[in-house]
């Protein structure tokens, strides 16, 4: 095997002639001119195998991330008997949309869908307004007490909303706003959940070049004008990060809705999803999975279309080192 790559005898004496030359490693009887190319090729093929091994690892790792969604969507098309079969079927044998009809028959699901959507939209827009104004003022405007006020706002980062749920519940109750959407809209916009947004916006505005504001001032803009016409439009990447965080947080809210809401037509989606149970409290899997599919697929579709901006928005949220 060695022979076909062996260099000609003419070069051999040189190779084993020098006694001071350290013994070549491996099958290193090769001539010195050939060795690098061969080692290179070996290394490259090893690297190629390494790359495919990594890709295989990624494929295996992605199963628990992708499979549940697949399983959810396909199972929602199966009848209960097929869902409970001992050996699972990857694809429904006789796909049927019957469960989807049940979703809307058993609960005011469209109304609940709308509730979640409009609450998340209001919270997102409100949080962007409040946090960008506060972030801008804390970053760019000098006024007495600014640091103290900023510290006061930052306390919200240390207070998980669960800590204050009892007093907030009492506050909402005494205002007569139980079983309304007010607490789900107002508290997230003004309270602890928006503090991270204010922090991100402030970090962003700190890095804004001062010359832009000077130019705005030259053009006769006041502070509000500078904020609205210059700073705010420039903060698109930070705003999109805040928007994503905020929307997802509101969309996922569970503790607050179950504490504040009691009528089915005021429920939000996460709450509604847990209500598909039969007379004995057992889950009606196909109906529940159909409802779950209806809540997941639209969001997933939007994400797949906009995923580049989405991921970049998060990566550039000022959270990186």
């Amino acid at each position: 095997m060695k022979s076909d790559v062996m260099p000609g005898p003419a070069t051999l004496p040189g190779a084993d002639g020098g006694p001071d030359r350290p013994a070549p490693s491996g099958d290193g009887t090769d001539g010195p001119r050939h060795a690098p190319a061969r080692r290179d090729r070996a290394a490259r093929s090893r690297r190629r195998w390494g790359r495919w091994a990594l890709v295989a690892l990624l494929v295996v790792l992605s199963v628990p991330f992708v499979f549940p969604t697949w399983w959810m969507a396909t199972s929602s098309l199966k009848p209960m008997s097929e869902i409970l079969r001992a050996v699972p079927t990857l694809w429904p044998q006789d796909p049927s949309f019957a469960a989807y009809g049940e979703v809307f028959r058993l609960q005011p699901f469209a109304q609940q869908y709308w509730n979640s959507l409009y609450i998340a939209a209001l919270v997102t827009v409100g949080t962007i307004l409040v946090s960008s104004m506060a972030g801008y003022a804390f970053a760019r405007i000098r006024f007495p007490g600014a640091n103290a006020l900023f510290l006061l706002v930052l306390v919200g980062l240390l207070v998980p909303s669960e800590v204050t749920i009892v007093p907030l519940f009492r506050m909402v109750n005494s205002l007569g706003l139980i079983d309304t959407h007010w607490p789900l809209v107002v508290i997230p916009i003004l309270g602890a959940p928006s503090v991270l947004a204010t922090f991100i916006m402030r970090q962003f505005f700190l890095g804004l070049p001062g010359e832009l504001e000077e130019a705005g001032r030259m053009d006769g803009l006041g502070r509000w004008g500078i904020f609205w016409r210059i700073a705010f439009p420039l903060s698109r990447s930070a705003i999109s990060a805040v928007a994503i965080f905020t929307f997802l947080k509101s969309w996922n809210l569970y503790l607050e809705p179950i504490v504040y809401l009691s009528s089915k037509d005021r429920f939000t989606l996460p709450q509604a999803l847990t209500q598909y149970v039969d007379a004995y409290g057992g889950p009606m899997w196909n109906v529940q999975l159909a409802a779950t599919t209806l809540t997941v697929l639209p969001v997933l579709a939007v994400f797949l279309v906009a995923q580049k901006q989405f991921v970049q928005g998060l990566a550039h949220s000022g959270l990186k080192g």
Partner: protein, 295 residues
């Protein structure tokens, strides 16, 4: 004269702009925080409509409450498991996706997709997969393994809750790590490679120190987040079996909104706040030791 008028006008705008955030913080963070401490010193039953000063009674009750001890333990296990698994998996995925490999964008989308799936929806799907005759055991049976009833065993229930949560949110940490990794200068890596540093050595001595600010931030967010877990518990296990997955927030919810014991629930809230505060401050204080450069 003109400049002081400008400064005054500036200050007025500044106060106006921060007003919603500051008033919001006062009304919905600071005031409730003070209130919850005040409530915690009271015997308060909502149904009976009694509210009497009780001093430290609620805190004394905590000391001898086995339910609270269980929930602290459950929270501890959950946090440890979640943080270790989440951060190491997020780092592994970020490092893998930072290589020049085919299809990294697709894989990134895969790993990130559960983040956009609503939490309760994700949890419901997993509870479907994890039930005794569910998908996971179905596939295990194909391999000739009889799987346990995941959500009904004390150990497997906790493991299930952790794993479901890790797959849900690890994509977010992965993205933050990926952004940090892409900020590590290629030349430094190259120089170390020429000096003969292996891949692991380069990761430990160069990459890790350079991304340590992100590591700090991500671990703070993950630890604090792990203490707030509620929906997953409520949907997956309802705190059971026994009290094995009744984490602190779930216990707090039960005391307040199931047993209507607002005073005791307030005392638990104060405990939760103190734990979050201490953890955050400790991590922040130790940042100098393990954070290579400041943000």
């Amino acid at each position: 004269m003109a400049s002081s008028a400008l400064a005054r006008r500036d200050a007025a705008v500044g106060y106006t702009m921060v007003a919603p955030a500051v008033l919001g913080a006062l009304a919905f963070v600071v005031a409730p925080l003070v209130a919850v401490v005040w409530y915690s010193l009271h015997e308060w039953n909502v149904l009976a409509n009694t509210f009497t000063f009780a001093g430290a009674d609620n805190y004394e009750r905590m000391l001898s409450d086995p339910g609270l001890r269980d929930s602290l333990l459950a929270s501890l296990w959950f946090s440890i498991g979640l943080v270790v698994l989440n951060i190491s998996l997020a780092l592994l995925l970020a490092v893998l996706l930072n290589q020049r490999l085919p299809g990294t964008t697709t894989f990134r989308t895969f790993f990130f997709s559960p983040v956009v799936v609503s939490l309760v929806a994700w949890t419901i799907v997993w509870s479907f997969l994890l039930q005794a005759d569910g998908g996971i055991n179905g596939f295990l049976s194909l391999l000739g393994i009889e799987g346990p009833n995941w959500l009904r065993g004390e150990t497997t229930a906790m493991i299930s809750v952790i794993v479901v949560q890790v797959f849900k949110n690890v994509g977010l940490n992965m993205i933050l790590f990926l952004a940090a990794l892409q900020g590590v200068p290629e030349e430094v890596q190259e120089a170390a490679r020429i000096d003969g540093a292996g891949a692991w050595r380069r990761f430990r001595s160069i990459t890790l120190p350079l991304i340590s600010p992100t590591l700090l931030l991500v671990s703070i967010l993950t630890i604090v987040g792990s203490l707030e877990v509620f929906a997953q518990i409520a949907v997956l296990t309802g705190g059971g079996p026994g009290n094995s997955t009744t984490v602190l927030v779930y216990y707090l919810y039960q005391q307040a909104f199931r047993f209507n014991d607002f005073g005791y629930a307030s005392a638990i809230s104060v405990l939760l706040f103190v734990i979050v505060l201490v953890l955050t401050l400790v991590q922040w204080q130790t940042r100098k030791r393990w954070v290579f450069h400041e943000v």
